[in-house]
């Protein structure tokens, strides 16, 4: 299935970008492989929103951002190196990677500053099955 893309809204350069985790090579590689296998695009999931702080963005997708640490950036910083596609349902975006080279992952790690997750609780609860989601 092609990557489902949204149209009509382009977030400003200062909008917040968050991807859960410490962005280690193994996770980035497998995430990109999965995205390519499912959607034909070499990319990894991230979340983008015009919010005041990281906690506000995590509150939009708590089921996906349960990691103790998060990679945090801005739309402008990410776009200096990578394409950023509005995919699935907001606030989901896909950071498009040119290849699976460790150097590419290293660049992504320079863009995504690792910060503690302000909402980290160790064992967060999922919403009940059947709730509407992306």
């Amino acid at each position: 299935m092609p990557l489902p893309l949204r149209k009509g809204y382009r977030p400003p350069d200062d909008a917040l970008v968050v991807r859960g985790g410490r962005q280690v090579n193994g996770d980035l590689q497998k995430a990109a492989e999965l995205c390519e296998a499912k959607h034909g695009v070499l990319g990894v999931s991230a979340f983008v929103a015009e919010v005041d702080d990281v906690a506000s963005l995590v509150d939009l997708v708590p089921e996906a951002l349960r990691h103790e640490f998060l990679g945090v950036s801005s739309v402008g910083q990410v776009r200096q190196h990578f394409d950023l596609l509005p995919s699935f349902h907001a606030p989901h975006y896909t950071i498009v990677l040119p290849d699976l080279d460790p150097g590419t992952f290293a660049i992504l790690r320079t863009v995504l500053t690792i910060e503690p997750n302000p909402r980290f609780r160790g064992k967060p609860k999922f919403p009940r099955r059947g709730t509407k989601g992306r």
Partner: protein, 82 residues
Amino acid sequence: MIARDLWIDFNDVDATAHVSSLLSHARPGVAVRVGGILFVGDDEGNRCRAQVVGIASGVVDLALEGSTFEAADDSQVSKLHV
């Protein structure tokens, strides 16, 4: 810590606790079949139990049991090679 059966990216978990992975990201020897219960997680050491709800074209669809989520511990994280 229980060994991971199948890699997942928690960033891909949707609001209904569903997520996908690839058969090729399973630990060698693990039987991945619909209805089976697996321990899934990422390379940081975050773990969760999940039920396989579908397999097609090498893609595995899973329903996570969110209450079983365990965050990576520091000893696991210290072994990471970026």
